[in-house]
C-alpha cells in the first residue's frame, strides 16, 4: 500500500532486511503485466494526441480556442478538492474513534462503514435517489412534519453529487487513515498531558503531525479517484455537473474523435500528476519538520 511508503517518514526506522537476494524478481511478473497492459496503451494514447488525425499540436490548439474544455477540467478539479476536503473532515473522526474504541466496537464501526462499500457505485447512487427524490423519503418526512408545503428539489445539484461522492469514497479514506493512526504511540499523548499541555495543544502539536502521513495517503486516493467519476454526476448532477471523464468518454464513444480525446486525457494526466506530486511534496515537508 501507498501508506507504507509514506508512513516511512515517521514510523520507527525499519532495518533494511532482505529475505534473499533475488526477492526483487518476484515483482517482475507484475512489472511486465503493467508494462504490457498499462504503460504501452497509455503511451500509444499520449502519442495519438499529437498524431491523430495529422501530426501537430492542432488538438491542443483546439483546447485553447474553445475554453469550455479547460473549464470542465477546472470544475472537475474543484469537485475533487471539495470532495476530498469533505471526506477528510467526515472520515478523520471515524478513523480516530476506531483506534480508541474497544476492539469489538471498532470492528462494528468499520463493518458499518464497509457494508455499503461492497455494493456497486450504481446501486448506491440509485439509493440516494430513493432518499432524496421528489417523492423520496426525505421529502415525504418533511411534508409529513409540515416543514415544507411541496416537494423540494434535492436531486440534480452539485451538492448532491458531492454528498454522494463523499459517501462512496469514505472507506477509501478511513482505511489508510485508520492504519496510520493505529501506529501512533498513545503514550506520547499521555506524556504531553503529563507535561501540562492542554488537550487542543496535544492534538495540534503531537497527534495531528503524527497522523499526517495516513491522512495524506487517504486524501490522495480520494482525490485521484474523483477524476474518474462519471456515473454519479450523470445520475445525480444537474446541467453544469459535467466532469472531464464524461467529456473524454464522449470524444471516444460519441464523437469518434480519438485524437482530441487523447489530448484531453493527456492534459488530465499531466494535471493530476502535478497535483499529486505537489501533495507528496507537502507531505514530505510536513513529516520532515
Amino acid at each position: 500500500m501507498m501508506d507504507v511508503a509514506l508512513a516511512g517518514g515517521t514510523a520507527q526506522p525499519v532495518p533494511s532486511q532482505r529475505l534473499f537476494s533475488g526477492a526483487g524478481l518476484l515483482a517482475l511478473p507484475l512489472i511486465v503485466l503493467l508494462a504490457v497492459v498499462y504503460v504501452c496503451p497509455v503511451g500509444v494514447m499520449l502519442a495519438d494526441s499529437f498524431t491523430d488525425p495529422q501530426p501537430g499540436l492542432q488538438q491542443y490548439q483546439r483546447m485553447i480556442e474553445h475554453p469550455v474544455y479547460l473549464q470542465v477540467l477546472a470544475r472537475t478539479f474543484r469537485l475533487a478538492v471539495v470532495v476530498t476536503a469533505a471526506t477528510a473532515i467526515c472520515g478523520f473522526p471515524v478513523a480516530y474513534y476506531c483506534t480508541i474504541a474497544r476492539p469489538a466496537v471498532a470492528r462494528i464501526a468499520l463493518g458499518l462503514l464497509f457494508v455499503p462499500f461492497w455494493a456497486s457505485t450504481v446501486v448506491r447512487t440509485y439509493a440516494l435517489m430513493v432518499i432524496l427524490g421528489r417523492t423520496g423519503i426525505l421529502n415525504g418526512a418533511l411534508l409529513w412534519a409540515g416543514l415544507i408545503s411541496r416537494p423540494t428539489q434535492f436531486l440534480f445539484h452539485t451538492a448532491t453529487v458531492q454528498l454522494a461522492m463523499v459517501q462512496i469514497l469514505l472507506p477509501f479514506f478511513v482505511l489508510p487513515v485508520y492504519a496510520g493512526l493505529r501506529t501512533i504511540d498513545l503514550s506520547l499523548l499521555s506524556a504531553a498531558e503529563g507535561l501540562g499541555a492542554p488537550p487542543w495543544q496535544v492534538f495540534r502539536r503531537i497527534y495531528l503531525p503524527l497522523s499526517l502521513p495516513g491522512l495524506f495517503t487517504g486524501a490522495l486516493i480520494v482525490f485521484v479517484f474523483c477524476f474518474g467519476f462519471f456515473i454519479t454526476p450523470t445520475l445525480l448532477g444537474g446541467r453544469r455537473d459535467v466532469t472531464i471523464a464524461m467529456v473524454i468518454m464522449a470524444q471516444f464513444e460519441g464523437q469518434l474523435d480519438w485524437g482530441f480525446g487523447a489530448a484531453l486525457s493527456t492534459v488530465l494526466l499531466a494535471c493530476t500528476l502535478v497535483a499529486v506530486l505537489m501533495m507528496l511534496r507537502v507531505a514530505k515537508q510536513d513529516s520532515n519538520r
Partner: protein
C-alpha cells in the same frame, strides 16, 4: 468499484427497474412463425453478432436469433453492449471479433466518414419487396425505426401536453423536466427547441442552431437533469423525478404496460433507424450477409415488433401484426413526426456538439 464499466452500468440501471416485464411473456406465444427460408440463406459454422444490449437485445434473442439458428444451421455467438469505437479498433488492428453488429444509421455515416470500416451489403441475397428504398443503404440495412418522443406524467397535469410548444410552456405545464444529455454517446437534439419555437416539421433542416439555443435558454432552469442512457430517461419518469421529458419510444413502452401514470405524445416525434452492418475484412462475411438478409424477412421483423416497441422497415411485416400492436409502433405514427436529416446531422456534428458543450456549462 469506481471505474465501473459503462455496459455494466447500463445493465444494472436496467435491473433497477426496467426489464422486459412478464407482460411480454404472453405475447411470446403469439409470435408469427418464420416460414421455410431459401437455401441461399442456409449455412454452417458460427456468426459473431454484437448488439446494443438491454431490452432490444432481449427481444432480438427470441425474435431473430432463435429462428435464425434453427433455420439456417448457423450458430450465433452474441456480444452485448457494443460500442462504435470497438468496431473502429477491430478493423484498424485487423483483429475482428464481431462479424456483424447493430448501429444507428447516423452513427454508421459518421463511421464511414472516418474510413472503410464496413463491407458493402450483398443485396442479391435480400428478397424483400416490402423493404423500402430509404432503408437500403450501401453499407447497411435499416431493420428497426426508433422514435424520440415527448413523455409526461399523466398525474401532473389536468390536460395532457401534446406538442413541443407545451413542453416549453412553463406556465401551463410547470414542473421539472428531463432532456437528452448530448454527451456520452447521446446525440445533441436541437429539433425539439425549433419545433417548440414554431418551425414547421418540413422546414426543420438545415437546423437553425442559434435559434435552437435561444429557445433552450428560455427553459434552461426547468430542465433539472440530462439523461445519458435510455434506461435513465424511463426511470426519471417512472419515479416521478420529472414531469416532462424526452425518450426513445421503446423505453417508455414497458412503463405503459406496467400501467404507470406516464404518457407519450407522438406529435413532432423524430424517427431514426437502427441498422445491421458487416465489419470490413471479417473472415465470416458469407454468414454475416445471410444474417443481414434473414433480418429483412417480414415475419422476422414482425416477431421483433411484437417484443419491442420499435417499428419495422419491411412494410409487409404489418400483415403479421395485430392492429392493437401496430398502434404502439413508430410505424403507425410516421405522419405525426419526421425523419431526421442524417446527412446534415453528420456534417454538423462537431460544430453542434461544441456549441452544446458550451451552452450546458453556461
Amino acid at each position: 468499484m469506481i471505474h465501473i464499466h459503462r455496459r455494466r452500468f447500463m445493465a444494472e440501471a436496467m435491473a433497477a427497474g426496467l426489464t422486459l416485464g412478464e407482460a411480454r411473456g404472453q405475447t411470446l406465444n403469439l409470435l408469427p412463425d418464420v416460414p421455410t427460408i431459401p437455401n441461399r440463406l442456409k449455412g454452417s459454422g458460427q456468426l459473431r453478432v454484437a448488439n446494443s444490449g438491454g431490452a432490444l437485445a432481449e427481444a432480438e434473442r427470441k425474435a431473430v436469433y432463435e429462428p435464425f439458428q434453427n433455420l439456417t444451421g448457423i450458430e450465433i455467438i452474441e456480444t452485448e453492449g457494443f460500442a462504435i469505437p470497438k468496431i473502429k479498433a477491430q478493423v484498424e488492428t485487423r483483429n475482428i471479433e464481431w462479424d456483424t453488429a447493430t448501429l444507428g444509421y447516423g452513427n454508421s455515416l459518421v463511421l464511414l466518414q472516418d474510413g472503410d470500416y464496413l463491407e458493402p451489403i450483398d443485396y442479391s441475397l435480400i428478397d424483400a419487396p416490402g423493404l423500402q428504398d430509404q432503408y437500403r443503404h450501401k453499407y447497411s440495412v435499416s431493420y428497426v425505426t426508433v422514435a424520440t418522443v415527448m413523455t409526461y406524467r399523466t398525474d401532473a397535469f389536468a390536460t395532457a401536453p401534446v406538442t413541443w410548444a407545451d413542453y416549453w410552456d412553463l406556465k401551463r405545464f410547470p414542473g421539472p423536466r428531463n432532456y437528452m444529455s448530448g454527451s456520452q454517446g447521446i446525440g445533441v437534439d436541437l429539433w425539439p427547441a425549433l419545433l417548440a419555437d414554431g418551425v414547421p416539421m418540413d422546414k426543420l433542416y438545415p437546423l437553425d442552431v442559434k435559434r435552437a439555443f435561444r429557445a433552450l435558454d428560455r427553459i434552461k432552469d426547468s430542465i433539472v437533469t440530462y439523461w445519458a442512457t435510455g434506461a435513465q430517461s424511463a426511470e426519471l419518469m417512472a419515479d416521478n423525478q420529472t414531469v416532462l421529458g424526452t425518450a426513445w419510444n421503446g423505453r417508455i413502452g414497458p412503463l405503459l404496460q406496467r400501467k404507470l401514470p406516464v404518457g407519450v405524445s407522438w406529435h413532432g416525434a423524430n424517427f431514426v433507424y437502427d441498422d445491421h452492418i458487416v465489419l470490413r475484412g471479417t473472415p465470416n462475411i458469407a454468414n454475416a450477409m445471410k444474417f443481414v438478409a434473414f433480418c429483412c424477412i417480414p415475419e422476422v421483423q414482425a416477431r421483433l415488433a411484437m417484443l419491442i416497441d420499435y417499428g419495422f422497415t419491411n412494410m409487409d411485416a404489418a400483415h403479421f401484426l395485430p392492429p392493437e400492436r401496430l398502434r404502439m409502433l413508430p410505424s403507425a405514427h410516421l405522419a405525426e413526426g419526421f425523419f431526421a436529416d442524417q446527412i446534415w446531422e453528420r456534417d454538423n456534428r462537431k460544430r453542434v456538439t461544441q456549441a452544446w458543450a458550451e451552452w450546458i456549462l453556461s
